[in-house]
Symmetry: C2
Subunit: 259 residues, 2 copies
């Protein structure tokens, strides 16, 4: 699906931008790069900045016109920093553009077109497009570097693709430590309350303080391992505290039996 | 609000990346840049790649440790390509991170921290952070160039900020031409149907064809100006068609009275 999404650069001036574009593309699962009349290509700067994405550089197609680059595409989105007077369909939000282009790209080739560093795309080139998109930016300084604009829109495209139910992307998640059952959490909080009382921090059961700490640890979500660590700490502290039990307080043997 | 969001670069190797970072920041409304032990700074490469964001370079603070860079911050998000074994709070989605950091940044300084080009952040530096974030990427090639990673996360931050009801950002929208009332659209479709019949394209009222064209033009949403253009075209065509009216067909004077 991402293989149907083509990146087209028109008359790029700095070969370094071509290399940086290739790298940006590859990090976001894109591989189809087409260059329309690049000023200097191939070029060592392009290869240097591609940094591991040289395969995209090597496979890049060079053509003489934008029409040639996109004739087989069913949707062509021109990235443009400035608004044109012609009311072409326009995506204000890169997120919406990305969702649409990924949908269209499920079955047919589609393209995202970027213009020259200084001058963007000409009006004629915009007419080769079915849509325009711009990246909302600082009104006082809103022109991104060419390869940065590619990175941002490629990231949006990758995000839209990931969010489809039919994509097979799986986020690498850190392995979860096991969670303790409620009973063990309860024992921990009893233990903590006992230590607070014996230390003189609270002189009698104090519901508000206990509730606050329960909320804090609920947000922290201690794993079994971490709870054991905390219980061990409380036990060490307890050894030094006066034996200051409340009347009628029952001792319970609630030390953790596992871990 | 965006002024509370600090970008911290740790031990950046290439001064060009510092310049490109400044540019990326400025396009997204950020201005607070802090450098921890940069290898070469100040440097002409940094200024060259800043390209209009040199003010950020000039105002950038240089410090000797990450702790010094973020001590006043209430939230410190470390951007990390790889997962650590310590289960620090982790944002899988840059969008979620951005929303959170913009919320926190409403009242207090917050920071987004980026590590070295090759080695990222050390475990000790991750411990200076309250959260981690990674940018979901191609599992086979997932490390973005440093300044590209800044651009992507800054774009997400700017997007989160724009979406807040209290932000004053207004998208530049192309001026909308006036839309025609339903009656005029109806006249247009009658006119079109007449032309189709008189040309022999359809030999009798054909509901399906007419409905299809109504749907097409509904999606196109012709403005008054465009409708007038289409009516003018139909009128020119009509002059050349045989006078082939259906029996009992009523003539209506439905030419547009305005525009």
């Amino acid at each position: 699906m991402l293989s149907n999404i083509r990146i087209v650069l028109v008359q790029t001036y700095h070969p370094g931008n071509i290399g940086a574009t290739a790298r940006a593309m590859k990090t976001m699962g894109l591989s189809d790069l087409v260059l329309v009349n690049p000023r200097c290509f191939p070029d060592p700067e392009a290869s240097r900045l591609a940094a591991g994405a040289e395969d995209l550089i090597d496979q890049a197609r060079v053509v003489g016109s934008l029409a040639e680059a996109v004739n087989d595409c069913v949707q062509v989105v021109g990235a443009s920093a400035r608004l044109r007077s012609l009311p072409l369909p326009h995506f204000d939000e890169p997120t919406d553009m990305a969702r649409d282009i990924v949908d269209q790209g499920a079955d047919d080739p589609v393209a995202l077109v970027f213009g020259r560093e200084r001058f963007g795309l000409t009006n004629d080139e915009i007419r080769c497009c079915s849509h325009q998109v711009s990246i909302p930016a600082n009104p006082d300084y809103g022109i991104l570097n060419l390869s940065q604009a590619v990175q941002v829109l490629a990231h949006e495209v990758f995000t839209a693709w990931r969010r489809r139910p039919d994509s097979d992307f799986r986020l690498a998640r850190p392995s979860q430590d096991r969670q303790p059952p409620r009973e063990q959490l309860g024992h921990f909080h009893d233990h903590l309350t006992r230590v607070m009382q014996r230390s003189g921090f609270i002189t009698q059961p104090h519901a508000r303080t206990e509730a606050q700490l329960q909320a804090l640890f609920a947000r922290a979500r201690p794993s079994r391992k971490e709870l054991s660590l905390l219980r061990g700490l409380l036990a060490s502290l307890e050894q030094h505290l006066p034996d200051d039990r409340l009347p009628d307080e029952q001792l319970t043997d609630d030390r953790l039996s596992d871990e």
